[in-house]
């Protein structure tokens, strides 16, 4: 574990190819979650992801020790046994054609940051434990983000230490679940040159002036699908995004509420049992006192351990994940708000030019 902590969060150049392959995979199945494997190599501490391939979706029995079985089999695919075989096979095939194929982790698609869940954690845990402790999870949402589970969290998860007591000791907080890794995208020169060509299509001669308005509107440039410029992020569409985020936050609150209730229920039943035990102990003491005066043999005083069963403390893991999820949501809302307010003031300033002079 110690050596783990020494390794700093390295940069990882994700290849343009990988980004495109993951996009293709996730848009085909949208909005269902998709998962796949990423391969590449570890070059001097930088994890280079050079290729990826999707996992076949297999139905799997709920074998996890947390009873939150995946309703979507694809989400659990990375840790399915059949896929470990598939992955090994695929990597062997890729090596034959000179691809630097070592397993370096897995990817998943996500929508609006909703990726902090048990499936992702279990998958990543499986990869860091079974495959390679430097394995990363690449979350495509729709920008790529990469992370690992922190050593602290790994240790806690391995032994399922998520009671209040254990968390007190380990001082594990929701901020400590993931180690986020910076992602850089690196393109080969051929791909760079291809993108340049996509952006600026070859023009053999300067375009003629259009003869009429209709010709201009129906002409080639108006219809062409060149890559840039892309002005989608100038759109002032606020409501759908906000609405979706509010819904997601509501779901999180719901989860939080359930967890809090569970915990309170536990505390109440614990207190009840505790009272019962205290009563029993007092009664036994009194009895023993009487017996002592009567010179009778004393009754054992620790029998309560057999008679009463203390309730099991619920795991705090779900609450932790939920907190991390809410943090993710509020981060993306903040990002959105930052650019939206800017746009809105710009629009206002343009429509009401007098106002800006004030």
């Amino acid at each position: 574990m110690a050596e783990y902590e020494r390794s700093p969060p390295y940069g990882r150049p994700g290849r343009g190819l990988v980004v495109m392959k993951i996009i293709k995979h996730s848009t085909q199945a949208f909005p269902t979650t998709v998962t796949g494997s990423i391969v590449g190599m570890d070059v001097g501490g930088t994890l280079e992801v050079t290729n990826s391939f999707p996992f076949p979706v297999v139905e799997m029995p709920p074998e996890s020790h947390f009873d939150t079985a995946a309703p979507n089999p694809a989400a659990a695919a990375p840790r399915a046994k059949a896929n470990a075989v598939y992955q090994a096979e695929m990597i062997r095939m890729l090596r034959e054609v000179n691809i630097d194929a070592n397993n370096v982790g897995w990817y998943t698609s996500a929508n609006m940051g909703n990726f902090v869940n048990m499936n992702v954690i279990e998958n990543q845990f499986f990869y860091q434990k079974e495959m390679n402790e430097r394995a990363v999870a690449l979350v495509h949402d729709p920008e790529p983000e990469a992370f690992r589970l922190s050593p602290k969290f790994m240790a806690a998860f391995r032994e399922n230490k998520f009671t209040a007591d254990e968390l007190q000791k380990s001082n594990l907080r929701y901020q400590d679940i993931f180690v986020e890794l910076p992602v850089t995208i690196h393109n080969s020169h051929l791909i760079t040159s291809f993108i340049h060509q996509l952006e600026t299509p070859k023009q053999s001669r300067p375009a003629d002036l259009p003869p009429s308005l209709a010709a201009l509107e129906s002409g080639a440039p108006a219809k062409s699908t060149v890559l840039t410029p892309n002005f989608d992020n100038l759109l002032l569409s606020i409501d759908p995004f906000m609405e979706k985020n509010c819904d997601l936050l509501l779901d999180s609150i719901e989860t939080h509420h359930t967890e809090t209730n569970n915990f309170q229920y536990y505390q109440r039943s614990l207190a009840r049992e505790q009272t019962k035990i205290n009563n029993w102990q007092q009664k036994r003491k009194a009895e023993n006192a009487t017996r002592a005066t009567l010179k009778q043999p004393l009754l054992p005083e620790d029998e309560w351990q057999r008679l009463f069963k203390l309730p099991q403390e619920p795991s705090r893991l779900e609450s932790m994940l939920n907190s991390r999820q809410v943090e993710q949501y509020s981060r993306q809302i903040d990002n959105f708000v930052a650019s939206t307010t800017g746009k809105m003031f710009a629009v206002k300033g343009n429509l009401l030019p007098g106002e800006t002079a004030k």
Partner: protein, 343 residues
């Protein structure tokens, strides 16, 4: 990239082989998804030093009537070429195809690619293998895609289908008439934004980029718009100065565009603006409040046992409840916020 070649669809001549089911002769359009080209280019970089070109399999979907083929994925297939012999690793191709189809059940074999523009006898041999019966694309034509990867030149892509030629069966086996077909590189919205991210690395010296944040992307878009406005106004100025030829159509178009600026009452703008900005800020505020509340409530819940003793348990239960209530309060308010946003 998008060469403006024009195409004449010819029904591909069919070979002398008599068939029970007539193979398709319908005109064919090829659609290529960008990640397929990316894979091909990547493969080209990984070829052995002595190899002129590398080949691989194209996979994708075919429209119901067979007139459109969409190339979605590719995988590399090993092969060796000498002056008089070509060897393609058929076993590998079969295994890889099976593996690929397990993860992509909707895709089918549509053809093959090579990383040079040259078409030769070996191309014909391989083409006949891919378009053959059994393991090939029969009765549909196999698409052959050539992507030239010569350094210093533009990447040139061409798509072909083939027709058998040759007077005898032996001659027909290693000959093919390649017929060029039109193709188009098509990307959806998600791919477009992905390409943009990747493209931002294109001007960097080492070809690397970091991911842009929203606000940086916005800045870039605004800069681009400003640049375009500059270009248009330069053009208009030079027309006024009679340096550039005038065009009525362009003038009309610009006028129409300018007329798109909305004419709204300032009071309306003010009202809409205030409503929206309030929504936006309230949601942001709430999200952060909810986060803090939850954190607080969870901290209080896990903090209790350190204090020890029955008294503190009670106290912390209250704390937990307070957190819970806070959560509920946030709940209702967010609903309010959501409704406001919907309104």
């Amino acid at each position: 990239m998008a060469e403006t070649d024009s195409f004449l669809h010819l029904a591909r001549p069919l070979g002398p082989v008599a068939m029970a089911s007539a193979p398709s002769t319908a005109p064919l359009n090829v659609v290529i998804q960008p990640q397929a080209v990316f894979s091909i280019l990547d493969h080209s970089l990984r070829r052995n030093a002595d190899q002129e070109r590398v080949i691989g399999t194209l996979l994708g979907t075919r429209s119901e009537d067979g007139t459109e083929v969409e190339i979605r994925s590719t995988f590399a297939v090993g092969h060796t070429e000498t002056t008089d012999q070509v060897e393609v690793d058929m076993e590998y191709q079969k295994q890889m195809l099976a593996l690929h189809l397990r993860a992509n059940p909707k895709e089918v074999l549509v053809g093959w690619y090579a990383t040079s523009s040259e078409l030769n006898t070996f191309s014909a041999l391989i083409q006949n293998f891919y378009s053959g019966q059994g393991d090939g694309t029969w009765p549909h034509p196999a698409v052959h895609l050539t992507v030239s990867t010569e350094p210093g030149k533009d990447i040139e892509t061409r798509a072909y289908i083939s027709a058998p030629v040759g007077v005898t069966a032996e001659r027909a086996a290693d000959s093919a008439a390649f017929i060029p077909v039109p193709y188009e590189i098509r990307y959806g919205e998600a791919e477009k934004s992905g390409l943009e991210t990747i493209a931002s690395a294109k001007d960097a010296e080492n070809g690397s980029t970091n991911i842009f944040t929203d606000i940086e992307a916005l800045e870039r878009a605004i800069e681009e718009v400003l640049g375009m406005i500059d270009r248009v106004s330069r053009y208009v100025e030079s027309v006024i100065d009679e340096e550039a030829p005038a065009s009525t159509a362009l003038g009309q178009f610009l006028l129409n565009t300018l007329a798109l600026a909305p004419k709204v009452d300032p009071a309306d703008i003010e009202r809409d603006f205030n409503n929206h900005i309030q929504d936006v800020l309230v949601v942001s505020y709430l999200a952060n409040t909810i986060r803090t509340q939850m954190d607080l409530s969870n901290r209080l819940a896990t903090a209790q046992l350190t204090l020890g003793g029955g008294e503190s348990t009670g106290e912390n239960q209250r704390g937990g409840q307070r957190g819970g209530k806070g959560g509920r309060g946030g709940h209702q308010r967010t609903q309010g916020g959501a409704e406001e946003v919907r309104a």
